[in-house]
Symmetry: C2
Subunit: 341 residues, 2 copies
C-alpha cells in the first residue's frame, strides 16, 4: 500500500503542508454577517466597479490572491502552482483570473467542495516534493450563480425556504512546504453519493449524505472520533442539511457531540435578519469562513485541530431538465496546530 | 527548491508512474477515421441506446473505465482515485459517471487540456506516495458540446473553415506506482496565454500560443530539444493552429524538425473526406489518439519517448457574449519506455 495511505480512503501527509496565510474578500451581504469583521476586505457593492457581475467575480478571485501575496510576503514568481475553481460554466472566473496572475494553473471543479478539493491537490504537490509554494483560491458571486443555475437575477423569483444563498466573495490560501502556521495533516477525498433528491432548491439535503459518508470514512480510517477534533465543519449544508448529516452519522453509530459539528453555510450569515433562508453556499462559502474566523482561531489557540469538510452539489440546469437527481460530494481536510512547529 | 522540480516550471518524477493500460471508445465518425482500427470499441450511433446525447456521453465515460478495468485486470476497489473531466457545464459527465463508479473523485476542468492535466495530477498522487492505482478518464460528445457552446445541434448551422470538430468518445488510463509499461517521467503544467483572439470558431489559433509556450518551457527546463523526442504531439490545434505553434516556436529560436511535431486533432480524422474542417478537438480527442495508436506505438517500440501537450481553449458562451478573448492553456507530459523497467 502507498506509504502515505491510512485506512481505505485517507492519506496522512509526511511533512504536513503549512498554511502560511489566508486572504478573504466578502461581498456586502457577507460583510454585514457575523464574520464581517474577520474578512480582510469587504466590498460595498456587487459590481465592484466592473461592467458585469462575472467580471466582478474575476476581480474577487484576483484581488484575494493579491491580498494573500501581500500578507505572506511571498512574491508571485515563487508560487509554483495556482490551484482553484469556481461555480461558473467552464470555471471561467478561475481561468480569467489565472490569465492575469500568470502562474501554472490547475483548474478544478467540485461545486462548493472545490475549496477542500483544491487544498488536497495543493497539499499533495507540496508533500510529494513537487512544489514549495502553492496558492489555492476559490470565488463565487451570488448574482452570477443565480442567473446561471436558476432564473435571471433581476427577476427576483421568490426563493424557497430550503434554498441557500450563494456567497459573494473569494478566499485565497498560501500553502508551503516549510514555515510556521496551521498544518494540513490528513485528507479524505470523497465519493459521489446520490440518495435521489430531485429538488435543486434543497441542496443541503442532497449534500448531507456525502458529508456524512466522508466524515465517517475519515474517522474510521484514522481511528479518530468527533472528540479528537475541536470542530468538524461541513461546507454548505445549511439549516436543513446539517441535522440530516447528523442523523445519518448517528444511524451509522457515529457519536456526534452537539458542540463539535458546525456548518460554514450557517456561520456566514445571521439566521434571523439576513433572509438567506437555509444558509450560505457557493465555492467561496467555506473558503470565506475558514480563511477568516477559523484560521484566526487556529492561530490564537482557541482551536487546535479541525476537520473542514466542504460539500458540493453536483447538478447543472441540463441534468435537472433531463430529470437527474442531485448528487453530492464532500472532501475532508484535517488542519492542526502542531506542537513544536 | 522542491526536490522533484527541474527548471522553473517542470517536475521530474522520482519513480515515474506506469501506464499499465488504456481503453478508448470512439463514436461513429471517429471510428471511420484513420485510427478506427486502434480503438477498443467503436459505437455505431451517437445515442448509444440512451435517451439523450448527454447520457450517451456519461455512458462513454463509464464504459471506457469498465473496458480499462477488464484490460488491466485491476478491480475497481483497488483504484485509489478517479481523476478526470469533460467539456460540459459543471463537468456533469464526469460527476454522473463517478456516481456509478463509486471511487474517490477529483474532477478537473481544463477544456481540451484536461487529459494531460489529469495525467499530471494522477502522476503526482502516485509518485508522491498517496496512491497505488489511479484511473484517469476524459470524455466528450460532438452533439452535447455543439448545443452547449454554439447552436442547437439540429439546426445544422454551417461550420466555418477554421472550426474543429468536437470528438465523440472517451479515453481511460490506468496509472500505477509499479508494473510494466510506458512511464510518465516529466510534466510541465501550463500558464494561461491570451494573445487576443476573439473568434470562438478559431480555437486552434487561440491555443497555439499556449502550446508553444509550454513546449518551449519544457525544453528549457529539461535541457532537451525536439531531437530528444520521437514525437511532440499537441492536443487539438488542428490544421490552422499547428503551423502557428511551429512559427511561434521558431520565432523563439526553437528548432522544430518537420517530422517531430504532430497534432492529435489532425490525426483523428481523414483530412479530405471527413468534413471536419480544421481537425478534431474535445476532451476526448487527445485521449483517443494517445490511448489507442500512440500507446501501442510505445509498447511496440516504434516510439520510445514522446511529449503529449494537450491544449485547452478557455471560453464559455458567457465570456464570448461579454466580449472576452479566448485564452489558451497547454499541459505537457513526457512518456517514455524506460530500459530495464
Amino acid at each position: 500500500m502507498a506509504k502515505k495511505r491510512v485506512g481505505k480512503e485517507t492519506v496522512a501527509f509526511t511533512t504536513p503542508p503549512v498554511l502560511l496565510g489566508t486572504a478573504t474578500i466578502a461581498g456586502p451581504k457577507e460583510g454585514k454577517g457575523p464574520l464581517g469583521s474577520y474578512f480582510h476586505e469587504v466590498k460595498s457593492d456587487l459590481m465592484m466597479g466592473k461592467s458585469s457581475w462575472e467580471q466582478a467575480e474575476v476581480y474577487l478571485f484576483e484581488q484575494s490572491v493579491q491580498h494573500l501575496l501581500d500578507a505572506v510576503a511571498v512574491p508571485l514568481d515563487l508560487v509554483d502552482y495556482l490551484v482553484g475553481g469556481d461555480l461558473l460554466d467552464q470555471i471561467m472566473t478561475t481561468n480569467m483570473a489565472a490569465r492575469t496572475l500568470q502562474r501554472p494553473l490547475l483548474g478544478l471543479y467540485g461545486a462548493c467542495s472545490t475549496s477542500t478539493e483544491s487544498l488536497f491537490v495543493a497539499s499533495t504537490l507540496l508533500d510529494g516534493g513537487f512544489a514549495d509554494h502553492v496558492v489555492v483560491a476559490t470565488a463565487s458571486h451570488h448574482n452570477t450563480a443565480e442567473r446561471q443555475f436558476r432564473y435571471p437575477t433581476e427577476l427576483g423569483v421568490q426563493r424557497k425556504e430550503t434554498q441557500t444563498w450563494t456567497a459573494t466573495g473569494a478566499g485565497a490560501f498560501m500553502l508551503a512546504s516549510e514555515g510556521v502556521g496551521p498544518r494540513i495533516t490528513h485528507a479524505t477525498v470523497g465519493t459521489v453519493v446520490d440518495l435521489g433528491i430531485k429538488d435543486p432548491n434543497n441542496m443541503g439535503a442532497a449534500m448531507a449524505p456525502a458529508a456524512a459518508r466522508t466524515i465517517k470514512q475519515h474517522l474510521v480510517d484514522t481511528g479518530r472520533t468527533f472528540a479528537d477534533y475541536d470542530l468538524i465543519l461541513t461546507g454548505d449544508l445549511g439549516r436543513i442539511g446539517l441535522p440530516l448529516a447528523r442523523d445519518l452519522l448517528e444511524q451509522e453509530k457515529v457519536s456526534v457531540p452537539k458542540d463539535r459539528l458546525a456548518d460554514c453555510g450557517i456561520m456566514l450569515y445571521e439566521s434571523e435578519d439576513q433572509d438567506v433562508h437555509s444558509g450560505g453556499s457557493g465555492t467561496a462559502c467555506s473558503a470565506l469562513v475558514f480563511g477568516s474566523y477559523l484560521y484566526r482561531q487556529l492561530l490564537s489557540g482557541d482551536l487546535n485541530r479541525i476537520l473542514l469538510v466542504a460539500t458540493g452539489a453536483l447538478l447543472s440546469p441540463t441534468t435537472f431538465q433531463q430529470g437527474e437527481s442531485v448528487a453530492g460530494i464532500a472532501h475532508a481536510i484535517a488542519i492542526e496546530m502542531l506542537k513544536g512547529r
